[in-house]
Symmetry: D2
């Protein structure tokens, strides 16, 4: 799962929320991240479509990895999501986060949630704020991605 | 858990996502809803604070109940969230959704996520769109709240 | 134009943008503000409806007065707007800003733009950040509202 | 001002709001548009920085041209803006709108507002809804861009 520019991390996500949901961190690199999650029966509602909260959660996790990829503790200030298509149980969704701009302590990141076939399920935009300090254990320096948990500290 | 103006629904949420997360629907009434969720160890990151995705999910679920409370199938078009304070494992959070305005097929709903002590954790605003048809089984007419699953259909 | 709880300011807005658009500051008080603007022929498009940018501008100006009402320089970090109804040339619109929450340096403000008849034209939510220093001239201490210009400094 | 892929339109904007503000429509093509506006003394506040409302207005106008470029009447449903840097009187700002996704009647557009030197002033995201009918006079078919006025009808 390694790519030329990113850091391969496989299943070693070390984030309880992501781990318990089976979210795979496929790639993290400076200013971007790609995560994958399978919609389970517990993530859907009575109609068998994914709860919007889980679509947001996947995008938000990708946002957190991308904005913490520079080795500075970075928090989510706010986010906005637009829901385009429903997703169903069994769907494997991929969230791809890219950095749009950083200026001073502020950053703007876009995350697109797609089916593997390319159909867009949701578009997410997150606003980040960088605070003092480095991620615990300085994971970025060791070649491991900063965990999402720094995002809400 | 019944209130004077709302419909008591207790634990009978019938939404797989909400049920699996232990979300309790405390009240639903015309244009509003109040849900409660306890942050579990699986909802937190390494620092023991709640993943922002779960804060959004709780607010989004409250939004869904509120905007479907009028007996018409109503979808979430988009939403925006601002994160104010972190929440920790063990925290019992309450999301209160209120209708701000409806016009034509469009609606705007505000959801505040608080600790029981009143401290605000997150502020959410959702934009809804009403589509044709009634919620399956016409749950609103039977005194039961429309399930969240209609929100993404 | 004075109200019991607010500060009457009349036409003395001292903000070039507001003044050139004829925006009247009807009231400013701790955490809130009410502004009025008449849609002119130059604010409309070919169909005679108000350009969404002017609806946002009016709401944003009310947001700026409300979030600077505490005597600390406060900036607009971001904002979101939902357009509900069109407004026409000649319409007199009122934007009412209220503070939803402040925590640390962050604030969330809601602004509703209405026709005098009460019909809602747009719903706006702004996120503010307070920075060091006081508004120039310490306008709040002198009983005059902080001007909007501090909002983008 | 013509480009290879877009339609040159020069000063013929035919939108009273854009015209009165001196907004130049540099390019419009399928799903995108580029507009230019000079910050005048009347667009600033006491500190000489551009009012956020005018930054939004410029971005919103670019959004309107981009989402109406397909020849179907398309409305702005909602929008979100993040303010990165201040702009000053005399600054010449360029807003560049690109289509992110369209699905069914819904669209998502990104607009970046830059100084000519490339510094980003603001990031805007707009959600559009396409309604029945064609733009008045079917401007797109005649090689002229649909005017912004269709955006709020």
């Amino acid at each position: 799962m390694s790519t030329g520019t990113g850091t391969s991390v496989g299943v070693d996500v070390e984030d309880p929320a992501c781990r318990s949901l089976g979210i795979a961190l496929e790639e993290v690199a400076a200013g971007r991240a790609r995560l994958r999650m399978r919609i389970t029966d517990e993530m859907v509602n009575l109609h068998g479509v994914a709860h919007g909260g889980y679509l947001f959660l996947l995008a938000d996790a990708a946002f957190a990895y991308a904005c913490n990829s520079h080795g500075r503790v970075t928090l989510a200030h706010s986010a906005q999501v637009t829901f385009l298509r429903p997703a169903a149980a069994g769907d494997e969704l991929v969230a791809e986060a890219t950095e749009r701009v950083r200026y001073g302590r502020n950053g703007v990141y876009d995350v697109t949630v797609r089916r593997p076939t390319g159909e867009i399920i949701a578009e997410f935009r997150g606003q980040s704020v960088t605070v003092s300090g480095r991620p615990p254990g300085d994971l970025t320096a060791s070649g491991r991605p900063p965990s999402d948990d720094r995002t809400r500290t």
